[in-house]
Symmetry: C2
Subunit: 117 residues, 2 copies
Amino acid sequence: MIPRLNYDQRGLIPVIIQDIEKGDVLMMAYMNESSLNMTIQTGFTHFWSRSRCKYWKKGETSGDVQEVKEIFYDCDEDTLLMKVKQHGRGACHTGNRTCFFRKIDSMNKQEKETGRK
Amino acid sequence: MIPRLNYDQRGLIPVIIQDIEKGDVLMMAYMNESSLNMTIQTGFTHFWSRSRCKYWKKGETSGDVQEVKEIFYDCDEDTLLMKVKQHGRGACHTGNRTCFFRKIDSMNKQEKETGRK
């Protein structure tokens, strides 16, 4: 059922997590083959922590679990996209809903500068 | 203007590309510091090809360029999210709009099995 995926040299594959209802990208983390299997079997995201070298169920302590609704793989078979229902406050350990809560301003400045001409 | 980012050992950072209007995730690719600068300066995505070891402007030959509207960085400063206006047919070299055009069926099967009980 799981296609052949191209894991990297560490045996990992990056996984983009997107909210299935709101469509916002919540986080990116890494799975190995075992944590992908755990994810599929349980229906909740499990990742491999590169820094702690262990498996973790997302939200296990906080309750902010992610219920997996759809899994897609890309043309190179080296990245996954999971559409999830995010429970609790959100995905980020900082307390923000998304890990991508900070914006690089340069694009706006560039637009404003262009607009002035 | 650009925050300090955590590039990996190869000097690369993964970049998620999301359509700013439709909200679908189109692709993931890698930038290094130079291609990120090119992207910001030109307003169009430029990546670093790991297999070809060269810079490439997305859509340079096909015309399917990506106009960058917003750039976000995550809590660990090791992943970028770019919201773009996708020009042309789409983002994937296969001709599909998104690189994530194939779904892993197991989730659905699991749901169906659960539904039967």
